[in-house]
Amino acid sequence: MTKTFTQNDVIRYVYHETSAKETKEIEKALLCDAKLEEIYKEVLSMKADLNKAKKVPSDKVINSILNYSKSLNLPSNK
């Protein structure tokens, strides 16, 4: 018999927080529960969108950080 899963379980699954046993059971449930599958696709799609929505800092600030790190290696002039 296929176990019943909630939307919260699907979210844990998408964020890789289910145990190996739960993962297998959820994957089995997704095959025979169209509503659960729909929720899964929506959450997965939203997760992908959130990844794409990440902002990238400018090269200028990144170079400035890298230069700062390198500057701490320079021998003192004292």
Binding site: R12, E42, K55, P57, I65
Partner: protein, 199 residues
Amino acid sequence: MEKYKISDSQLVSLYKNGNEEAFEQLLTRHKSRVFTTIYLIVKDNYVAEDLLQETFVKVVRTIKEGRYNEEGKFLPWLMRIAHNMAIDYFRKEKRYPTIIMEDGSHVFNTLEFSEDSVESKQVRQDTHAKLRELIQELPESQKEVLMMRHYMEMSFQEIAENTGVSINTALGRMRYALINLRKKMKQFNIAYDQNIYPK
């Protein structure tokens, strides 16, 4: 979480031994996550870049001065610094009221965001910018969980412990955040399409 050939902790070890390329890899690996987290709090590109720089200056100094605690994980530590920097910015600007929870921790779910920047107005039509805008419009408790789970990569267990709620409550907040965002993005995309392709 993304898998890398060399772990963060291996890169930190290499960096401690003077390997600057290892630091460059760490920075490249995590810059967007850190920057996005800060930006979602301060909502200003320039301030976010300043705070990103301050965050990594602290990281550099802590590691190079031998004060980095190797028992902890690098990413949660890095994200905590970034988060605290963003919160401190609000305290200094007096835009952020200091609220202490019963357990003594402070929350950022009462955060007041700054006014829309010129930049955000210019890119309003952009889908990703719109999504970031919608995240900021979420109820504070939902936004907090979403940021902690998605961008700060904290587990639901850690979020529950940090915010003083049960795992189920944290999961419920995440669920509503995702549902709300999905719904609003659909509305935005319909409106966006109608603007571009008027009937």
